[in-house]
Amino acid sequence: MTTPVDLFALFLHFLTLSLLAIGGAITTVPEMHRYLVDKTGWLTDTSFTSSIALAQAAPGPNILFVAVLGYNVAGLPGAAASMAGIMLPSSVLTLTATRWARNNREHISLRAFSAGMTPLTLGLIIATGWLLAQPFLKAEAHRWGTLALMAVTVVLVLKTRLGLVWMVLAGGVLGALGLV
């Protein structure tokens, strides 16, 4: 089921996610997936995942995957709407909170906030990795290749200092050769 693309709804969706993106926008990927793929049908599962892969492969802050998602929904206006939505609330909050936080690092509310949110942030990051792999794991032909490639990637990240971009490029080459 696909609902017609609505730029303002797109903007509002990212606007509401902005303040929830503690630990980076990557933690709200499952929610973006629920909205853009499951609810509105503006993106397919595969194009959702490849949008994120593309942004990760490119230079720059990873937040730009939001621009690519918006672009794939509605071209340049979609990219502008999604980026404005995700950046506005968090930027305003960052600027207003910065000076207060700088002087109150030991304040109990700031410490409780951080201590309460850190476990959640980590659980969310791992859930995000899991959800990103789902479309490949669902396709039988690619299941084991994908699992193996993910496992190798995890080991390389944990055990070596190899640049992440080389891993992404190697994944692309292996994919193009039909090995995964």
């Binding site: 996610l17 993106a21 630990g23 980076g24 499952p30 629920r34 995942t49 490849s50 994120i52 892969a53 942004a55 990760q56 490119a58 230079p59 720059g60 802050p61 937040i63 730009l64 621009a67 690519v68 672009y71 980026m83 909050l93 960052t94 600027l95 909170a97 410490r111 409780a112 201590a115 309460g116 850190t118 476990p119 959640l120 980590l122 659980g123 969310l124 990051i125 791992i126 859930a127 995000t128 990795g129 899991w130 792999a133 490949f136 993910m150 995890v154 390389l156 944990l158 992440l164 971009v165 891993m167 992404v168 994944g171 692309g172 080459v173 292996l174 994919g175 193009a176 090995l179 995964v180």
Partner: protein
Amino acid sequence: MPNRPQSLAQLFIAFTRLALQGFGGVLAVAQRELVERLGWLSKEEFVETLAIAQVLPGPNVVNLSMMVGDRFFGLRGAVVALAGMLLAPAVVVLGLAAIYGELARYPAAVSALRGMGAVAAGLVLATGIKLLPALKTSPLGRPLALGLALLAFVAIGLLRWPLFHVLALLGGGGMALAWWRLRK
């Protein structure tokens, strides 16, 4: 005494240069450029600013760039640093997205993206695993913190609950518990 940017233009160029070097995340490059090459922040200031950026919503390194800009030039500096971080990389990544639309007709390109997607998923998983030891120092205590992380994974990854519900329930609960423990 750290150096400082002499002009808004210099600030913009520094952040553009930094962002364009950041394949697979900008944090490491930010430290190298801002602390080691430019000397705008001491190592301690960098870590402290990042700690604040991390408890605020929004992309950490982008938040950090705004805080640095704000510190030297006020609001104008924050806006210029943000633009430096996002503009040029946005052009690059959207250019790639546009080309990908053309390339998607070729099976090899689609397969390449699938391979890249699997690696991207692995990178995110590995990042989460790599950060788990940070829970050792949690005021909640390690077992409770790990339990919360596991519950968050199950609720989002397996049960597919909406994020807001999970944040309200688990995040609110975690913060209340942490508050209570810290008060003692």
